[in-house]
Symmetry: D2
Subunit: 140 residues, 4 copies
């Protein structure tokens, strides 16, 4: 399996006066997918803090193709890129559950900060192991 | 002056598909008014933490009379009730800036918790002094 | 069954800097429960618009007992009061899925407005029938 | 003047459990800046609807350099790129009011849809005139 699928349903208060999901809410959907994927491998925000790190998002990209509507069921497809440096890049696709139509695509990049807030330049072994397990799960 | 006035403008992403501010966002407006009033007297959430407490909201009431619309300028009128026990009750009115029409009324009650999360039964002297100063400002 | 149960999981961006779900987000949880109950009976916001009405919330009450935390699974229990006038009052309990501990209780009251925005004084027969079916489902 | 400056203050409910503004809320800040710039030239979402169009965001990019904190005052600097096709690209900088430190940079691209939801391939004259006026204001 190349990505993790997470089901959500659009909330009434996420829809704007044009009847579409407001574009900023997809950032929240991405995070739901990312954490749902990370949970099984000890890579959630809470897990990072337990290991002595935070993992803030430093870059975000998002492309909107079709709007999601009120009460629609969506599938978030989340995958992790194989890291080439001390950063984690997750990629996302939001598809409509009914017809599997691709609505939104995006990616986020996170870095690691230590307890002093300093940038971590090499992924610590403890975290690298978890990432490798996650990549095996994703068949990468 | 019986209340503090704080100006805000309705954000596009706060309006629902019926063209009205979604009813939950007024809770955020109340908090903007409460913190704007509390800031001058050392009673913000950050101030409470510095003094060794948190002040969670334990009760909320809200009455909706007229909807606010996209991009409208609003005035939040915030006042603090004179405490009769170890709790802080703020009251709020949201009025339209243009015609001063009352749109929403509400109140929140907060208690104090100490560092162990235990309920504080008597308002500490340090906090009582700040509350008294705030009540003088409100001419109460 | 006296109430409808809806499962949700706390989102990372719903938790405040004190590590608790911010108190305003429970209004969104209530709405998720309300719409999940209403969906099967044709009483969602979209259904109201199709029938020529809107159903704005005019009153909200909320009592907070224990905070929900990041990533916790919660159950929203929603029920509808038997209407005594042209208004719909839903009641809610938010409980922690793990130990069924009651965290938050609340209620919302909605009225009906027609296409001109005028208050509807008697519940239309078409809507009354749906409400009666919902009450039967709730064994009321 | 090369950009419009809009002042905001971070809201308590925009800060995550790490004490930083949650990364998705900057999308809302961008929109505040965009609409504040567009308001004087008849290019707000409401104005587009009056002219028979909607202007959905189709692309979003965001780079995070430093976190904003609770209750901080920020300045949103917004500018519009000179259009080279039938699309509107706004660019944003979020700086801390106190020391003018750059915290976040981003851009959004919007297209125009007509009443049928069809993509508009040439910017209509009425809208082009408003854009030109806005570009003169920005000294572009």
């Amino acid at each position: 399996m190349q990505y993790r699928e997470t089901k959500i349903r659009v909330r009434f208060n996420e829809v704007d006066q044009w009847g579409m999901v407001w574009h900023g809410h997809y950032i929240s959907y991405f995070e739901i997918g990312r954490i749902d994927l990370a949970r099984g491998f000890g890579l959630t925000p809470t897990d990072f803090v337990k290991m002595g790190y935070t993992a803030p998002v430093v870059e975000l990209k998002c492309n909107y193709k079709e709007p999601a509507r009120n009460d629609e069921e969506l599938i978030i497809r989340t995958t992790l890129e194989k890291p080439t440096k001390a950063a984690l890049t997750f990629k996302y696709q939001i598809v409509r559950k009914g017809d599997k139509k691709l609505l939104v695509e995006g990616e986020t990049t996170q870095v690691l900060l230590d307890k002093k807030g300093e940038l971590v330049l090499i992924i610590p072994e403890e975290i690298k192991k978890k990432i490798d397990e996650l990549l095996v799960y994703l068949d990468k």
